[in-house]
Symmetry: C2
Subunit: 725 residues, 2 copies
């Protein structure tokens, strides 16, 4: 139990870090009155949106909680509620810090680049540590409650079942909220951004963030509710699902292992020690002699990675004792799913591994994180071929800009797929599915640091907006723009990281699904071979989901942006004083309009991954039989990850590349600002916006939710059939 | 043997139809001297390109033929050569007819819309009937040669092997050529089109097909070498692969069936009778009272479909005799692949079916064709929501046009996936993998008619260009434009049809792969279950191929179009007389430039699907073992179809929708020609060009080639290991 307490303390430290750092941020100067006015308007809009969003989600959440309680018991319902509420809390606090830090970053950037960087990054670090800390506390406390208070015994089959179900329910709560938050926030931010750009920059010919643009506050609100709150909820989900499902898989796959309790607590301690290394890393973010902002952020990131290596090693050694003693072997691992008869489950997968092998798997996870960061920077950074090729293609017009952007977008998943494949094979060869799970756990253990890098972006974006609207000197805006350009890359990095870890986590979830199937329905022969046509149909339907989901996201942004354009046009028309700068536009009206649109548009696509597994299972079972239904459902889970990986990476990398190609041109290349190439690049950026900030990132929670719903469906069907798992 | 002769006669009839109709076309007036000059320049450029393209492909072809001969024997090498040569011949003749018909269509359109329609459609029908006729003759003659001349006996295992290998080699020849032709032609046509538009319409402000634009002949050449020759080679490949692999699968899966010979000849006779129904259909293409061009084409299409129902029924009854007698049962069907031990192969899949069930499977194939045609028209026709939503979004600029286009593109695979899934399940429940094969066969039996609808498009496009360049009266151009707009939809229809049939054919190919694996390596336990990580990695890598391939295609077009822009700018600069209309531009120089660029750019992406299966097999075998290598390779085959289906449909439907959204605006909506919305729509059209005519359609042969290479690799490995299959 010491391990659990140690992990809990690490979680508390993360939260304390968040509180202390927040106070430091609040203590800084919030600038002059005009700046504070603007920041207040942004904060008000963001709070109003999040409040309305969470009230809407709460309705869905309560309905689902009741269903979970009915089918899986009160403990699972409670775990679901905890996951859901904490996911919301993470987003809410992140947004709150962000709307305080934006104006203070603008103020700090009046003095120096370092000042702005520190303020913005500190704010990101608060969000990052809360994501990791609250995620860790949620799982740790739930596990502690079940073991220490409810006295559930891991050696008892029924008790183990309750523990697994609760962990999955916790993950479900986090996922369900995060898909709404990611999508709703993503629609809000991009509808406002695209709408403001179209009607401001393109039609009215006024610069970005000009206070005469009625949509400008909505645009800045969007950064906070989408790129900050939505992202935080998403990464909280990723954290909880990955670590929770790693623990659940250990319980499912190694029920008879001697070290079961230790093995299950190892992910918690790994998460705990990496919170500490992440906090240390945040203090290393300093501009060096070169003045490179990306270099400063990398110093923090690599410090965390390097410190995490010995930290994970010692955590593993502490938990498992002998690093070379064999673990596992007594149960099913690896190819359990082939033939799910009880004999097969008993006979198959005599995979054994050692603590050392698990450690190497976790090192593979860290290496994968590093590789994904590097690849994402290559595809979205202004120093490399992809972004420059888009910038070059802008010279010949809008069409060639978009063609080259799509080419980069289609190209970008190749290297991530190769490194993910290598990592999957490496981890599997070392320790089977459990190895993959630990690889994913190590990736997510760095979440605090990675989220910090990401959440810093919207703060600088907002700071630039405030500087513009408050009429601060040009050099302030230059500093915030420099910070913001790097933010485009770090935002893409987080998404690549989240989706890469999702690929690993989804494989673990699929392993849990097949294992559960064997436990719940031992007499059912489910044929998961690729030549089963129900498997093929399941793969096709699963692969379809990210495409349809992406279509919804893109359409929603297009439609909502259209209504922003109409609202702004109406404001300009009804009140000519706005363009003259004598009358303040009605910012709140536009915020309200985008709020309503985003909430309306987020519902149906968010329900798609929840309902699809259920519909596919019941339809296939009806036209064929239950075994075919389960086969199709399992294949759907893999189909969604296979195509989701490509859709998400191509959208997030492509969108980031488009954005930075515009910035590269604005830096004076290919004719610079105002040139024809720049106009073409603005089009590319507009196209990339919903790609990278709405449709693409929401694929990550979508993949997980599909998998978790399938697991819960299995449990519910078993309960319905009177099977005690 | 009567059946084989009957099929042969049908093939000969198709070729005769082609010859007679060609003569009718040639007999028509080719217009005035100016028109003939222009047409001659187009014809010259097209022949020069195709000549150079086929010389390049021939080098690859000879190398591969030698490899096939070395590993699989001289008969297979000869079959490969026949497939390759006929694929080339089909493209060449199609192009030749097309470059004669274009000017005659322009001339005929001077008199009436009906005249232009008839001329263009007749020309398309020649290509269509040659695709089906030559495809049918190739397979029929090969089969006849093996049975009647070489006296191979289907009851003898070794002989059956030779027959299967030869059929696969024939398919390989057709596929290999067609991927080069599709991609090379696709790059040519879109590089010239995009380049001509960018520098002509956008920069110089001259209309499309203006004779002052040096790239205008290249643009018209592109229609012939890409949309006509490339498409014909592609559909020839689809035809040969589908029917050839259906026959091979029957031989592999039902080696002991009583009716083996009859079953294998049934696809030939079905192909034969549908050639006749297609020819009848071509005579039904007439404008009705409403003057609807799409309606006229549909009359032909639906006549063919409806006549094919009884034709297929009587063909089946004639071949199999009793429609209700049980067939099969003695061998492995369906889930052969699960466990590939000889006992399993012998014991598994006691699927039996009847002639009636096969007939229903073929009806499902026809219904699927109809459904895909309807869905494609919905997504690309100007009367429906998707195209109109893009047109509407153009009002707010380039960015929203592209966003909405991408949304439509992402949405478009949903319905096709659903109907394909239903068809797969339906056919499989009736007659296992063989049922799916017959469903695909029935789809392809309509190829003559479908290709006719498609090949008519580039002829009308060219006719419009000639009318413009020759300065014919405006109403001629209006008539050819009306014909061309429908051509956009019919072109998209063929692509949806080809990729839909590819999904079915690829499943049959996968079935052949797993069956062959069991035959060649009976002692190897290959685990194809989804929980095998090598399967997952194979799926990921397979799914990656269409994305990378698409990236190559888009980049190639962007790059080649860029060099067209530079060439044209240079011509305008060096010779101001061109813009004044006093000096004829150097058309040939631009054609030559695009020719070289297209051929250079087509090589690497075309080799990707050939080499990927080989590399994946050897790498995975090296890091794990042979069984894992085969598992990853098998999964790669499914991965490529799963993602290829989505990539191809989204690109071809999205591109068609963009193109027609532009046409819809040009028809006077949202401000009409020259409005801001129109400019945005031109951008969307430019983006859609390489989507729908380069990257998207080339995915179809790419899927097949990956699968066929895997089959050949298996056979080569077996030969190497001394295994007699």
């Amino acid at each position: 139990m010491t391990i659990v307490y140690a992990a809990m303390i690490c979680g508390v430290i993360a939260v304390l870090y968040g509180i202390i750092t927040s106070r430091q941020i609040l203590a800084a100067s919030a600038g002059n009155e005009k700046m504070q006015d603007i920041a207040a308007a942004i904060a008000e809009g963001a709070k109003a949106y999040l409040g309305r969003q969470y009230r809407t989600i709460a309705i869905v959440g309560v309905v689902v909680a009741i269903l979970v309680g009915y089918f899986l018991g009160i403990l699972s319902a409670a775990a679901f509620a905890v996951g859901a509420i904490l996911s919301g809390v993470t987003g809410f606090i992140g947004m709150n810090v962000s709307v305080k830090a934006n104006v203070r970053t603008a103020e700090a950037a009046r003095t120096s680049l370092q000042g702005g960087l520190t303020m913005a990054f500190r704010s990101g670090a608060v969000t990052g540590m809360l994501v990791a800390g609250l995620g860790l506390l949620a799982i740790t406390l739930l596990f502690w409650y079940m073991i220490a208070i409810r006295h559930l015994d891991l050696a008892v089959h029924a008790d183990r079942r309750v523990i697994v179900d609760s962990l999955v329910a916790l993950a479900f709560g986090a996922s369900l909220i995060s898909i709404f938050a990611r999508l709703g926030g993503g629609i809000f931010t991009k509808a406002a951004d695209v709408g403001a750009d179209l009607v401001g920059k393109v039609e009215a010919g006024i610069p970005e963030d000009d206070p005469r643009n009625p949509a400008t506050i909505a645009d800045n609100v969007g950064d906070n509710v989408g790129d900050c709150a939505g992202m935080a909820a998403d990464l909280f989900e990723t954290y909880v699902v990955t670590i929770g499902v790693t623990m659940a898989s250990i319980a499912l796959l190694l029920p008879n292992a001697d070290h079961l309790f230790q093995l299950m607590t190892l992910p918690l301690l790994v998460g705990g020690v990496c919170v500490i290394t992440s906090i240390i890393g945040t203090y290393m973010v300093r501009l060096g002699g070169s003045g490179s902002i990306m270099g400063a952020l990398y110093k923090g990131f690599w410090t965390t990675v390097i410190l995490s290596i010995p930290a994970i090693y010692f955590a593993t050694q502490y938990v498992l004792g002998d690093m070379h003693a064999a673990i596992g072997g007594s149960s099913a691992l690896g190819d359990v799913a082939g033939s799910l008869t009880p004999e097969a489950v008993a006979g198959a997968g005599a995979v054994t591994f050692t603590g050392m092998k698990l450690f190497i798997c976790m090192m593979i996870g860290l290496a994968l994180t590093g590789a994904l960061v590097w690849i994402t920077e290559y595809y979205t950074g202004t120093n490399f071929r992809p972004v420059r090729s888009i910038a070059k293609a802008s010279e010949t017009g809008h069409g060639t800009n978009v063609i080259q952007g799509l080419a980069v977008s289609l190209e970008s998943p190749a290297l991530p797929t190769l490194v993910i494949s290598i990592a999957v094979i490496g981890c599997f060869q070392l320790a089977g599915i459990i190895g993959i799970a630990f690889g994913a756990t190590a990736m997510l253990a760095l979440a605090g640091m990675v989220v910090a890098l990401d959440a810093y972006g919207p703060v600088t974006d907002n700071a630039g907006g405030i500087a513009e609207m408050a009429g601060l000197p040009d050099d302030v805006r230059h500093r915030t723009d420099a910070l913001d350009a790097v933010g485009n890359t770090t935002k893409a990095v987080t998404k690549g990281y989240a989706i890469g870890s999702a690929a690993l986590a989804a494989l673990v979830l699929f392993g849990a699904y097949t294992t559960d199937l064997g436990i719940y329905f031992p007499d059912l022969h489910v044929d998961f071979t690729l030549s089963n046509p129900y498997v093929i149909v399941g793969l096709l339907l699963g692969a379809l989901l990210p495409f349809s989901f992406g279509a919804f996201g893109m359409t929603a942004v297009g439609r909502a942006a259209g209504s922003v354009v109409e609202d702004v046009r109406a404001q300009f028309r009804d009140n000519p004083g706005i363009m003259e700068g004598t009358v303040r536009p009605n910012y709140a009206r536009t915020v309200d309009l985008v709020t309503k649109a985003a909430i309306k548009e987020m519902i149906i696509p968010s329900l798609l991954p929840v309902l699809a597994p259920i519909v596919v299972y019941f339809v296939i079972t009806a036209v064929a039989d239950q075994a075919s239904g389960f086969a199709a459902l399992g294949a759907l889970l893999l189909g969604v990850i296979v195509s989701g990986l490509f859709v998400a990476i191509s959208m997030t990398s492509g969108g980031g590349a488009w954005d930075n190609a515009k910035k590269y041109i604005e830096d004076g290349h290919h004719g610079g600002k105002g040139s024809e190439a720049h106009k073409a690049a603005v089009t590319g950026d507009t196209v990339g916006d919903p790609y990278k900030d709405t449709a693409g990132p929401a694929v990550n929670p979508m993949i997980k939710i599909t998998n978790i719903v399938a697991l819960l469906l299995l449990a519910a069907l078993a309960a319905h059939a009177g099977v005690v798992g």
